[in-house]
Structure formats: structure tokens, C-alpha cells
Symmetry: C2
Subunit: 421 residues, 2 copies
């Protein structure tokens, strides 16, 4: 490969060598050419096969099969979970299920973990974790009379081993951390941190929202106890698609989640007098699961698996390296700084840039059909997803950002415009 150049032709050279470029055609995007989509870490695009599966589900399974299709649908949360486990999560089958939201799944698992470690009354997370993680855990801590201990974390570099160790003691029941930080993209060493957590006698719960489908995940290999994650980002399963929930095999019969619903019940349709949790991962279901969403999760995971997480990761690293190189070359003189780890091994699938006018810059890019996103307090988040983003997209997107920043053409946008996504 030729060495870095800030010319557009270099992006074209990288694209020409890209083995994954044809996966772009697996998505429904009639106007890809008019759009530069660098926001797959918020909502991934629609795979063609997913569109067909959902249409089949609606038109045939629901429209014609009606209630008779539940024979098949009942298995869908497990089918989707096993597909995620095998293709993306490094987990043996029977440990992942697709249901509810990340928020609800975190609540269930945090509650169960506290029961599993009686006498321990501290939950640990980091103070820059995604809001729903911090909020849910604060709620569980309040309800259980526990302490929520927040690790102070570097907003750009992510959690350090030292700060985690300093937060651990024999009062800690559970540590919940994000594998990839939502703001900076900092990638935690799941195996190493899980070891530290286990040495303190606590359970390790990993939030995979920004890592599933973005970086290889090895749940079984890392010794992780529990995990949750969302499917509408890199898994491309659509707005509000149900979340994943992982419980390590050995723990499944020892943990009891608090929301006792009929889908978690053994012999569900016997409708017996008392709640008796189903064996295995199904005990972590609650109410009737979203079937359309679970079908989309299955297809999204299948597509990523077809490309291969190792190949995707290699391209993802090349893409984020390229974002950083162009940012250094073009954007640093315009007041931007790279607010993500510079070491690829410590970085997930997105890169974040700091700029005083980040909020307006993101809006100005959007006006020209370049989709990135703003994150508080002053960050532009850029996610070049390897399944459908080209190096030329990155070049064109950052070139536009450079123009906008240099010309201050965003000056007409109110700095406090309400945020929606």
C-alpha cells in the first residue's frame, strides 16, 4: 500500500484494494451517491435481505399464517441470539437472547447480579458511561440501598486499569462497563478488565452497544459474566430493534432476573399458578418479544458474519486511521483536536473530534447530506462503518467539514438548536 497522502486519489487507491466494497450493494440506498453516511454508530442502514425478510414476515407469516406462525416465532429470540453469538460475539449457542431494550436488559441483569452477591452493596461503572447505563444503575442502586460508585474516566482515552482497580473492593457486587465508549470510541480490554473484576469477586457486565458488529467481541474467551448490547447501530436491525442479552452458561441457573413474565416461564402455555423460570437463557425473557425486530437482528448479524468480523475490523481500523490522518492534516489548524485514542488497538469503530462549534458543524454537514453526529459537550462523532463506507466517503466528508469550518458557513445555525439524535 502506498503511504498516506491527503489527495483524493489516495482514497480511491484504498477503495480499489478493498475486498469488502461489494457489501455496499447489500443495502437499500437508492441515492448512496448523494449521501455520505458516517453515522452507523447511531442507526445503521437497511440491508436488502432484511427488507425482504420483514416483508415476508408481515405479508406471509402475519398476513396469511396469523397466530399459527407463533410455532416459528417462539424460537426467534433464540435464533437471533445464536446468530449474534456465533457471528459477532465469540459465544457458544444458548447464551444470547434478543428481547426488550438495552435499558430493560441492563436493569434485569444488574438486579440479578446484586442478588447473586449477597452482602455486597456496591455497583461500579464509569462516570462517562452512556447515560442509560448510569441512569439505570443509579435507579437499581437507589432501590436496593446500594452505592453506585463512579470511576472517573478520561473522556477521550476511556477507562484505565488503575482507575478500575482503585474502585474495586470486597463490597463490589457488579462492575458494568462499555466495551467501546459511546463518545470517544475508546476500546476497553475486555479480558484484562474482566480478570481484575473477578479478582475482586464481582461480576463483569459489558455493554456492547458500540462494539457489537464494530469490533470482534470474545464473550466466552474473555470470561465476561454478562452482557447487553444494541442492534440498531452496527447490526443494522432498524429503529428500536430489540437488544441482546448474554448470560454465561454456568450463571444462567444461578441468576434470577426481577421481571417475571410469561415468556420467561417454563411450560409457558400451561399457565400454571406460580412463576417457575424456564431453563437456560429463556429465563431472561419477560413479555411477548418483538418478532419483526428479532428477524431484523438475525439478518443483520448474518450479513456481518458473511463479511467476517476480522476482515471488517481490519478495514475499520484502516478507515479510522484515515480519519485521524486527515484530521491531523486538515482540521487541526482549524481548531479541531482528535478526541479518541490514537492507538488502533484501543479504538473502536468511530472517531470523535473536538471543536468549540461542534454542534453547529454537525448541522451544517447535515445540510449537505453528510451525516455525522454531535455529542455533548463539543464533539463531532464520525463512524465509517466498514460494511458500507468507502475511503472516498471519508475523504469527501472531511473535505466538506474542512470547508465548512474554514468558511464558518455554519454561522447562521443557532448554537443551541435542540438536539434530536
Amino acid at each position: 500500500m502506498t503511504s498516506f497522502s491527503a489527495d483524493r486519489s489516495y482514497a480511491q487507491t484504498l477503495d480499489a484494494a478493498d475486498q469488502l466494497t461489494h457489501f455496499r450493494d447489500r443495502f437499500v440506498r437508492p441515492d448512496w451517491e448523494d449521501l455520505i453516511y458516517l453515522n452507523g454508530n447511531s442507526l445503521g442502514p437497511l440491508p436488502i435481505r432484511t427488507q425482504a425478510r420483514i416483508a415476508e414476515l408481515i405479508d406471509q407469516d402475519w398476513g396469511v399464517g396469523l397466530v399459527r406462525s407463533w410455532d416459528k416465532w417462539l424460537h426467534q429470540p433464540r435464533v437471533a441470539g445464536d446468530m449474534l453469538a456465533e457471528q459477532l460475539l465469540g459465544a457458544a449457542s444458548g447464551q444470547v437472547i434478543v428481547c426488550d431494550s438495552v435499558t430493560v436488559n441492563l436493569y434485569k441483569l444488574a438486579w440479578a447480579a446484586l442478588d447473586f452477591r449477597p452482602g455486597r452493596d456496591v455497583i461500579v461503572t464509569d462516570d462517562d458511561n452512556f447515560p442509560t447505563d448510569r441512569y439505570v444503575l443509579a435507579g437499581v442502586a437507589a432501590q436496593r440501598g446500594c452505592e453506585l460508585r463512579l470511576i472517573h474516566t478520561d473522556m477521550d482515552e476511556g477507562i484505565s486499569e488503575e482507575s478500575l482497580v482503585a474502585a474495586l473492593d470486597d463490597r463490589v457486587a457488579l462492575v458494568e462497563l462499555s466495551h467501546v465508549a459511546y463518545r470517544s470510541g475508546a476500546l476497553a480490554d475486555m479480558g484484562q478488565l474482566t480478570d481484575l473484576i473477578h479478582r475482586a469477586g464481582a461480576l463483569a457486565l459489558w455493554d456492547l452497544c458500540h462494539s457489537v458488529g464494530a469490533v470482534p467481541v470474545e464473550l466466552d474467551g474473555s470470561g465476561a459474566d454478562l452482557a447487553i448490547g444494541c442492534t440498531y447501530k452496527y447490526v443494522n436491525a432498524g429503529p428500536g430493534a430489540p437488544a441482546l442479552l448474554y448470560v454465561r452458561d454456568e450463571l444462567q441457573h444461578q441468576l434470577r432476573q426481577p421481571i417475571w413474565g410469561w415468556f420467561g416461564q417454563r411450560d409457558q402455555f400451561e399457565m400454571g399458578p406460580r412463576y417457575d423460570p424456564a431453563p437456560g437463557i429463556s429465563a431472561f425473557l419477560t413479555g411477548t418479544p418483538d418478532i419483526m425486530g428479532a428477524v431484523a437482528v438475525e439478518e443483520g448479524a448474518r450479513l456481518l458474519g458473511e463479511a467476517g468480523m476480522q476482515q471488517l475490523r481490519e478495514k475499520s481500523v484502516a478507515l479510522t486511521e484515515y480519519v485521524i490522518a486527515l484530521a491531523d492534516e486538515w482540521l487541526a489548524p482549524l481548531g479541531f483536536t482528535v478526541a479518541s485514542p490514537r492507538r488502533a488497538a484501543r479504538r473502536g469503530g468511530h472517531v470523535t473530534l473536538r471543536h468549540d462549534d461542534a454542534r453547529q458543524l454537525v448541522q451544517a454537514l447535515l445540510r449537505t447530506n453528510i451525516v455525522t453526529d454531535y455529542r455533548t459537550p463539543d464533539r463531532v462523532r464520525i463512524s465509517p462503518a466498514p460494511l458500507y463506507t468507502s475511503f472516498t466517503h471519508v475523504w469527501d466528508g472531511l473535505d466538506r467539514l474542512r470547508e465548512i469550518a474554514a468558511s464558518k458557513s455554519y454561522a447562521d445555525i443557532p448554537p443551541e438548536q435542540p438536539l434530536v439524535s
Copy 2:
């Protein structure tokens, strides 16, 4: 109207006078003629307009609009909730939201209700309530160190005023009851029972799963405090569509639900350090809501509203009266008994028949494309939904049931065949 006759021509006469018959064409059912669907109380059919809205959502809003569509989607749980409130629930806007499952919503509201009545440590429900209701409340009671007090209920006639009163005292924080009983179809007097509950100083939480879209509901008028309900039965919103949640206006700022997620947060995208519940009904959201499902709920409620709940109820009563009349005429001599209230005013949208071989009878009907459902221990449940079921369907379905029962043509079906739906 001519007086009842067991001839098929009588069904045809009733159909000819039916003002709602054209609503049947609003559903996607290429083979209605080959199918007698008496199971809308389990999964409703697919409305044509819902099929189109979901396709539009997927192809355009997701496929083309991508993350930019969140500007619109953010409102969808409220939009769907207000549509339900206005068309079906007798509730002013801003009190209903569509999210999560019935199970999760019941958990949230039961927990919040206990906090609202400190010093009270009893939850009351009935011993024949739908399993998820009993299980969720048993879980909440166990977690809160409360008592779950079960009212003994007549399986066929539903809850009595006397049995409710006997269960009430000044320890009761919350009473949760089903408006229409899932097994018998017994319809509770929401206003009267809510009054009794209020006199005891407790909150009244109504499960509307088998009543929303089946009978007129007057949440505001009855004084109900809280409600939950499912949308994939009579609201026809598809498998696993999200549930409804109602909190009476005055209570919204006084109740705090336990699952503190980012969609329940004020200024969600500011991602602040502490959970600060949004004003109004939005505080009862948790994680990212299922958007496809919420769109289907909106359309389902709109379609029912177009027919009008009073008109639907009139036809529904006529249909269930007809089921009972034919059952008395044909089926009683074959070992069936009516296991639903005979007074229309105390009966919801379905009729249940008792028979020793109910499980096999339902399977045998299914082999001939007549869909009913089995409920433990020995019940055939028949739901003639007024939006798409004709009197001739009822005649044909019960005629077949009569044939099957008389000939014992179900004898080859194993009595213990696993149940799925």
C-alpha cells in the same frame, strides 16, 4: 330482526344487515374464504394500511431517511398513545404511551404504585388473572417484601364485588385486575370496582389486554389510576408489538417508575449526569422504543376508531350472543358448556366453551382452517372480532365444531400435544 334460528340462512340475514361488513376488506387476507379466524383475541390480522405504513417506514424513513428520521420517530410512542387514548380508551391526550411489553409496563407501574403508598404492603389481584400479571406481581411483591393477596375468582363468571371488598383493607397499596378475563371473557365493571378500590385508599391498575379494541373503555370516566394493555390482539398491531401504558394525568408527576432509561429522561440528548424524569407520560418510557411496532399500533387504533367502538361493541355483542345460542342448540348435547357470562353486559369480545377434549378439538378445527384457541384446563376460546368476523363465519365454525365433536374425528390427536399459542 328476525328471531334466532339455527339455520345458516339466519347468519346470512344478520350479515346482510351488518353495517361494518366492509371493514373486512381493510385487511390483507387473500384467502379469507378458506379461513375462519376466531382468534383475534390472540393475534389480530394485518390491516392493509398498516402493511403500507410499515413498508413506508422501512423503505423510506429507515432506508432513505436513516438517522434523520428520528426527528419524527421520537414522537411515535406519544402519537400512538394518543390515538389509542382518543379512539379506544376514553382518555384525554398525554396519558397513554406505547412502549415495552405488557409485562415490563406492569412491572414499572406496580413498583411505582408501591412507592406511592408508603406503609402499605399488600398487592391484590385475582387468582385467575392472566399468568404474566400474577407472575410479575409475585416478583414485585417478593422484591419489595410485600404480600400478594389473591382474590379467589370464579373461572367462568369473573371477579365479584364481594370477593374484591373482602380482599381490601388499609394495607392494600395496589389492586390490579383484568378488565376482560383472558379465559372466560368476563367483563368487570371498571368504574364500580375502581370506586371500591379507591375507598380502601389503594390505586387501581387495569389490564386492558383483552378489552382494548374489544369493548369501549372509559379510563378517565371510570377514575382508573393506571392501565396497561396489549396491542397485538384486537388492535391488530402485529406479533410482539409494543404495549400501552396509561397513567392518570394527576399522578404522572407523583409516580416514579423504577427503570431509569434515557428515553424517560428530560433533555434526553443533553446526556446529563443524573436521571431527571421527563415531564408527563414520557417519564414512563425506558429504552429506545420499537418504532415499527408503534406505527402499527397507531394504524390499528385508527382503523378501529373509524368503525367506532360503540358500533363495534354492538356487533360484538350480537356475535357472542349468536355463539352462545348456537352452542346451546348444538353443542350442549355433545358435552360442551358455556364457560362465559351469559349476560352481555358482563361479557367481553370472546366466548369460552368447556369440553373434556377441548385441547384436541382446537387442534382438529385447526386442521380444517378454523382457528380458535385452547386454554387450560379444558376450554375452547372463540373470538368473533366484529371488524372482520361475519355471522356466517360463526355458523360455519361452530357447525364444524359440532361435526368434529359428534364424530370424534379428533381421536387421532394426542391429548397432550404441546401447546404453542
